[in-house]
C-alpha cells in the first residue's frame, strides 16, 4: 500500500508541479514504484514538467470512465525508472472527488508512493486532490503572499483526515536571507508550526534538467527532500552550501 501524498500550496506558481515531478524522479531512482497524478485539471502541466507531453494518450478522465485500465493509462520513461504519470486534461473539472478518490486508491495498491499534484487555491480541485490523499506536503516560496496563502491552506487542511508531513520552501536565495531581506525556511516553518522538509535553491536550471547534472545543488536538495519524506531525515538548508565552502569541501 502506497503512501499517498498531495503536494499543495495555496498560491499558484510556487513550485508544486516542479516539486512533484522532481521528487517523483528521485524516489523512483531510489527504487520505489512511484505514481504521479496530475490533479491540476485547470492548468495541467505535470506532463510538461517531465517532458512527457508528447506521450500523452490517456488521462484521468479515461481511467474514471473505464476507457483505459489504470496501469495502461500510466506514461513511463526510461529516463525516470519506477515513475508512471497519470496526466490530466483541460476540461475535466467535472470529475467528482469521490471518483478521483477511488482511482487514487487503485493506484495506491500497486505503488510505493502516489504523489498528487494539486491545483492552487482551496476550492473544488483542492478538495479533489486532498480528499484522495493520506498525507500532504505544503510548498511555498519565502514571499509573504505565498506564505500567507500556505498558512490559509494549512488551516483548510484541518477538516481533512490527512497528516501534514511538513513544509518545503522553494526558491530560497541564501544571500538574501543573510542580509535580512528574506525569511529563512526554518523561520517560516517555525511561524507555521510545521516541520521543515527542506529548502530548495533558486535555480536557473530548474525543471528536470537540474536533476541530470549530478553535482547540481538542486539535485542534492531534492535527494535530501526525498530522504526527509522517506526516512524522516533532516531537511536540506540552502545555506549549507556556503558552510561547505567556508570549511573547505572534501
Amino acid at each position: 500500500m502506497a503512501r499517498i501524498i498531495a503536494v499543495v500550496s495555496g498560491k499558484g506558481g510556487v513550485g508544486k508541479t516542479t516539486v512533484t515531478a522532481n521528487l517523483g524522479i528521485i524516489l523512483g531512482g531510489m527504487g520505489y514504484k512511484v505514481t504521479l497524478i496530475d490533479a491540476d485539471v485547470g492548468l495541467n502541466n505535470l506532463d510538461i514538467a517531465l517532458g512527457l507531453e508528447d506521450r500523452v494518450v490517456y488521462d484521468v478522465f479515461d481511467v474514471i470512465s473505464g476507457r483505459a485500465l489504470p496501469e495502461e493509462a500510466l506514461i513511463g520513461s526510461q529516463d525516470f525508472p519506477g515513475v508512471g504519470l497519470l496526466p490530466s486534461v483541460k476540461g475535466s473539472e467535472g470529475i467528482k472527488a469521490a471518483a478521483f478518490q477511488a482511482i487514487t486508491a487503485i493506484y495506491a495498491k500497486t505503488a510505493d508512493y502516489v504523489l498528487i499534484d494539486a491545483p492552487a487555491g482551496v476550492e473544488q480541485g483542492f478538495h479533489r486532490a486532498v480528499s484522495a490523499a493520506k498525507e500532504v506536503v505544503i510548498v511555498t516560496t519565502p514571499h509573504l503572499s505565498a506564505v500567507k496563502d500556505a498558512d490559509r491552506t494549512l488551516e483548510a487542511l484541518g477538516v481533512y483526515d490527512v497528516d501534514v508531513c511538513g513544509l518545503v520552501v522553494n526558491r530560497v536565495i541564501p544571500e538574501r536571507v543573510q542580509k535580512g531581506e528574506a525569511v529563512s525556511g526554518d523561520a517560516i516553518a517555525g511561524l507555521m508550526r510545521l516541520k521543515l522538509l527542506g529548502e530548495l535553491p533558486e535555480s536557473d536550471e530548474i525543471g528536470i534538467n537540474s536533476l541530470s547534472a549530478p553535482r547540481s545543488e538542486s539535485r542534492k536538495a531534492y535527494i535530501r527532500l526525498a530522504e526527509a519524506i522517506d526516512s524522516d531525515k533532516e531537511g536540506y538548508r540552502v545555506s549549507e552550501r556556503k558552510r561547505f565552502f567556508l570549511f573547505g569541501r572534501k
Binding site: V147, K148, V183, A187
Partner: protein, 75 residues
C-alpha cells in the same frame, strides 16, 4: 533572538487570533444533542454532516461532493 523585519511582518500576517476558539465544535454538538437526542444528518448542497451517537460518544462524518473529508469522534 531579535526577529528581522521581514520575519516580524510575516509573523504579524500569520496572526491566528481571528480563528474559531477551541471547543467550538463540541458546544455545537451539545446543542444538537439537546435538540435531537439521536442521530442527525445535515446536508447543504454537496456538504453532508452525519452525526451518529455510539454509547456516550458521537461519530461525525463530514463529506463533501460524496468524498469523505473527515470522521471525528467526540467523547
Amino acid at each position: 533572538m531579535k526577529q528581522s523585519d521581514p520575519e516580524r511582518r510575516m509573523a504579524e500576517a500569520l496572526n491566528r487570533s481571528d480563528r474559531l476558539p477551541e471547543g467550538f465544535g463540541k458546544s455545537l454538538l451539545n446543542d444538537v444533542d439537546r435538540v435531537l437526542g439521536g442521530w442527525f444528518e445535515y446536508g447543504a448542497g454537496d456538504l453532508n454532516l452525519k452525526i451518529t451517537p455510539s454509547g456516550r460518544n458521537y461519530y461525525i462524518e463530514i463529506t463533501l461532493d460524496a468524498a469523505r473529508l473527515k470522521t471525528l469522534k467526540l467523547l
